[in-house]
């Protein structure tokens, strides 16, 4: 499936790709920016997986628990298992409820759970973890978590782990972002135009070509996902309004292009050495007033007209 084919896919498949982000498993990277924030999409996906009956664990590092739970109704709030690292990230209060090992310890503890069933882990946010932990350790931990169920028959839904990570890509250089996106199974980059948010979804399956797709959506106040068609075509802005394309062929003193009449005249020109049928007829037709052809030659003063054959001198 080439990129263009993916964009022209039928509406049923387009609408399904954002919905089925969680069913693929593995690491799903949500890349947002200052203009298009991703926490609402993260909460929408958390709500969807909670409604599907999966276990949902939240590692909250960037915003407080009250702010994260805001907007969810109570049955969803009861299903979420929240690990709070916002209030006391360095564990200064040393209470028993603090999890050992920090966020990574919490991740490993979730992996060691014994009960089967699909699990969704939401990391809010990966940027916080990248700033507080070495990148290699984080990558190794994420890989261990998301590939925990990779036994030879690994398509079983039991024990499938999806990790949703929110990454603010403007905070990091290309290095960590590149390293995390090479680990991710799915990458969702948020963007949009003129008030309409879009998600560019790049899906990397292990041994197949990556498929990508752009999906326009909006988040309703109760954090459910509303998929939409894109804005109309004529409202698309031109590619780069800051730099107008420079055309070097303007203001020239000579003609680089031909007008239509000139082009027609050129195309209809018969080349001198082209033997066409008209020329053949013209040659074959006897010309009026000339039965045979003669050559008239007048020798001038410098010509040496000798009737002898110069080869007679040779003695062979």
């Amino acid at each position: 499936v080439t990129l263009s084919e993916g964009a022209r896919a039928g509406t049923g498949r387009e609408l399904g790709m954002l919905d089925s982000l969680l069913s693929l498993g593995g690491l799903v990277l949500l890349r947002d920016s200052v203009e298009w924030e991703g926490r609402s999409l993260l909460k929408a996906l958390v709500k969807k997986s909670a409604l599907c009956g999966e276990q949902v664990h939240i590692l909250g590092c960037e915003v407080s628990e009250e702010e994260f739970r805001e907007g969810f109704d109570s049955n969803i709030n009861n299903r979420l298992v929240y690990h709070d690292f916002f209030r006391d990230p360095l564990n200064w209060s040393k209470t028993e409820e603090a999890l050992p090992g920090g966020p990574l310890g919490a991740l490993r503890a979730i992996c060691k759970r014994t009960d089967p069933g699909p699990v969704t882990i939401a990391l809010d946010s990966l940027s916080w973890l990248l700033l507080h932990l070495p990148c290699t350790t984080l990558c190794q931990a994420l890989h261990a978590v998301s590939h925990q169920d990779s036994c030879p028959g690994d398509s079983s839904p039991v024990g499938k782990v999806s990790v949703l990570g929110l990454l603010h890509e403007e905070l990091h250089g290309p290095g960590p972002v590149g390293a995390l996106s090479s680990l991710a199974q799915t990458e969702v980059t948020l963007g949009g135009t003129k008030g309409q948010a879009s998600a560019h979804i790049l899906c990397r399956r292990p041994r197949q070509r990556p498929t990508d797709q752009t999906q326009w959506f909006s988040i309703l106040p109760d954090f459910s996902l509303d998929l939409q068609e894109g804005p109309s075509v004529e409202s698309q802005p031109c590619s780069d309004p800051h730099i107008p394309p420079v055309d070097p062929t303007t203001h020239l003193t000579f003609n680089l292009h031909l007008s239509k009449k000139e082009r027609e005249a050129r195309d209809s020109l018969i080349l001198p050495f082209q033997f066409s049928s008209e020329k053949q007829q013209a040659l074959l037709r006897p010309r009026p007033g000339q039965a045979t052809s003669h050559i008239f030659y007048e020798p001038d003063a410098y010509d040496d007209l000798d009737q002898e054959d110069p080869d007679d001198d040779l003695d062979i």
Partner: protein, 424 residues
């Protein structure tokens, strides 16, 4: 091999004439035959291990890389004791295929394998090796019309120009050789009994390193240390460096290391430009090359160089490896819709070829190479410009090709290069 042949040929050589004249006496001309199994093989003897052959250019012992087209481009194969580094393509789709062809070639030839990875379990990697084409599509006999098998879609037998049937249809690089280099079917898996019959060792990093150790900034990352110790143990215990002279049959060790330099190995060159351990990878390659040069082994490494932030590290890594091949796939780039590249899936860049006991290296004259992964075969071909039929082709498509041929090297022909959108 040549020396033994002249001794045995008989009539022409004077040595054997003397020998035949006085058969009853013991002459000083002794026929040198192959000695019994190697107690003390000294001198320039050719080691006859399955799946290897000596290079005709510099006498090095070569193994096949698993792709006969790639063998041809590298001057016959991969020399034993050297490192083949593959720079991965952006989405890591085609480089695992080369990696697996190398390992599958080892299994088919009966070599010992050592597979190291931080991402996948080596047992899973071995399950996914491609199946060798060993039946009618194999090229065992030269006198048959073997080249027709490469293009199964055209079965036209030419009546008048029948000599041209022997030539390959498209200019595919590589002659067909029977015992050195096999073709692999990428859509099928290798049969299980071949894997079980083979001798392989796996190194999966998450199993070997359980806790996070404290790393001194001047040393290698612990993952690399463990891998080097593992490789050294295997080489020593199985006698690939000649340390166990009682071994009856010499064999070659094929080492495959996947995704070296990625963060999963604990190396931060992909994450930061000036990390704390930026010399770890180069030290690893240096020690690895020392281990390889003193043993009968060949190594393939795939590395995600597009993620490495510091370009100087890439240059150092290239210098420390022997053969460097870069894969560039067209997925996601604007070349995918380019009409010039519509038949291919990517380009292959051969960035470095070694000079082993030689003053010159074995450079092929083809610099523009492209690959494509058909459903079964991975083929490498010379990148051809489509023919410029100037009377029939309209002007607009000529201009598209003209812009895209600016990127090609001089080997591809300059006829369409350089033309702008001009009407005269």
């Amino acid at each position: 091999m040549a020396a033994v042949a002249t001794c045995g040929s008989g009539a022409g050589s004077p040595g054997s004439a003397v020998a035949t004249a006085s058969k009853s006496n013991v002459t000083s001309f002794q026929r040198r035959g192959p000695r019994a199994s190697g107690t003390n093989d000294s001198g320039p003897r050719l080691v006859s291990i399955a799946g290897t052959r000596p290079s005709v250019r510099n006498g090095q012992l070569l193994v096949s890389t698993g792709l006969p087209a790639l063998d041809q481009l590298l001057g016959g194969g991969l020399a034993i004791g050297t490192v083949l580094l593959i720079e991965e393509d952006k989405y890591n789709i085609y480089s695992p295929l080369l990696f697996k062809c190398f390992l599958a070639e080892g299994i088919v030839n009966g070599h010992t394998l050592l597979v190291a990875s931080a991402k996948e379990d080596p047992a899973n990697i071995l399950q996914e090796l491609p199946a060798p084409l060993l039946d009618d599509n194999s090229k065992k006999e030269f006198d048959e019309d073997v080249y027709n098998h490469k293009t199964p879609e055209s079965n036209i037998k030419m009546k008048i120009a029948w000599r041209y049937q022997l030539l390959p249809k498209m200019e595919q690089i590589g002659p067909v050789s029977s015992r050195f280099g096999h073709y692999y079917d990428a859509s099928k898996r290798i049969p299980q009994e071949l894997i079980e019959a083979s001798n392989w060792h796996g190194f999966f990093l998450p199993e070997k390193i359980s806790s996070t150790l404290k790393v001194e900034p001047w040393s290698l990352t612990p993952g690399y240390i463990k891998l080097l110790q593992f490789i050294q143990n295997i080489i020593y215990e199985e006698g690939f460096d000649g340390s166990n002279p009682q071994k009856k049959q010499r064999n070659v060790l094929r080492i495959g290391i996947q995704n070296l330099g990625s963060p999963l190995w604990g190396d931060d060159i992909c994450c930061a430009e000036n990390g704390s351990n930026s010399h770890s990878l180069t030290k690893f390659l240096y020690v690895l090359r020392g281990l390889l040069r003193t043993s009968l082994s060949a190594c393939i490494i795939t590395m995600p160089t597009h993620l490495i932030q510091n370009k100087a590290i890439i240059a150092r890594v290239t210098n420390l490896s022997d053969i460097v091949i870069g894969l560039e796939s067209f997925i996601g780039s604007e070349r995918e819709t380019n009409p010039l590249y519509k038949d291919y899936h990517g380009l292959i860049h051969i960035r470095q070829i070694p000079r082993l006991n030689n003053l010159i290296c074995d450079e092929s004259d083809v610099k523009d190479l492209a690959f494509k992964l058909k459903r079964k075969l991975f083929t490498i071909e010379r990148l051809h410009l489509p023919p410029d039929l100037s009377d029939t082709v309209s002007h607009s498509s000529k201009q598209d090709l003209a812009e895209s041929t600016k990127r090609l090297g001089p080997g591809c022909g300059m006829m369409a290069g350089g033309k702008k959108h001009l009407d005269f």
